[in-house]
Symmetry: C2
Subunit: 162 residues, 2 copies
């Protein structure tokens, strides 16, 4: 495998492993547990899962790899704080939405060539991208991978003492 391809592969592995951790946690969380707050007065696990699913769903147009499927999550889990809007999906359906989004996104990323990883994302203009080629698809994937890890650290507070 050449250097460029291996660099892309290494980033993809990081994305996959973080997404798999979320999926593994969701598989363990009962419908009752997912409604609990991660800590007193903080977001419910359900809200965080809805938030992560919405953010990942928005990556399809952002990376130019397809259409979103769950735009109805945005008002509840991106635009309003927890417990101000009704949850649009039952826990089982939200978990299925997460799996659907993460699986299809990962399939799309698997197909990227090194050149495709470095193409601009759709939220940056041609002009701005010419000035800063760092605003590419890989930067989006790395940023979202960190965002998932950030909330995973919060979800894990429900499970153990740390």
């Amino acid at each position: 495998m050449n250097i460029e391809k291996l660099l892309g592969e290494t980033v993809l592995n990081s994305w996959k492993s973080v997404n798999q951790r979320v999926s593994a946690l969701l598989a363990q969380l009962s419908d009752e547990q997912i409604h609990e707050e991660i800590a007193p007065g903080k977001n419910r696990a359900l809200y965080i899962v809805g938030h992560l699913t919405a953010v990942s769903d928005r990556m399809f147009p952002l990376l130019g790899v397809g259409e979103r499927r769950f735009p109805n999550l945005d008002p509840v889990y991106l635009e309003h704080p927890d417990r101000t809007e009704a949850d649009p999906l039952a826990p089982a359906d939200l978990k299925a939405a997460w799996e659907d989004v993460t699986t299809r996104l990962t399939d799309a990323l698997e197909a990227f060539t090194p050149e495709e990883w470095l193409q601009k994302h759709t939220a940056v203009s041609d002009q701005d991208f010419a000035k800063d080629p760092g605003r590419n698809r890989m930067a989006v994937v790395l940023s979202r991978t960190n965002h998932i890890s950030y909330h995973m650290g919060q979800l894990m507070l429900m499970q153990n003492s740390r």
Copy 2:
């Protein structure tokens, strides 16, 4: 800039931005706040900062880029749970240790060529690395970047409602 170099640069930017978020938060945390728990019964912020500093300090030998400076953090922040050992450093000294480690690590990563990013880390044998070239320095840096994000999500619970 060629493709390989830009891929490495994009990963480095992600590392830098996550580390800068921690540094910015530490600059805001008073000595009193850093002793608070991130949520009732959970780790103190000080413990998490000690933990992150120890983990980053261990990256020097792991990546083969120098000697560690703060091995005395390990027993307290890696090997024992919070509040079982005395904190070895005052908050100001721990913050300075974090800055020292993150600055020197970032300098070392800045100097990596694409080939150097893909060299094996020191915790994998030549034999295992031959089987799986994904066990390289970039994989370590991505894993540690996610680890910092994970704990950053916990530290931020002190600051806001989410």
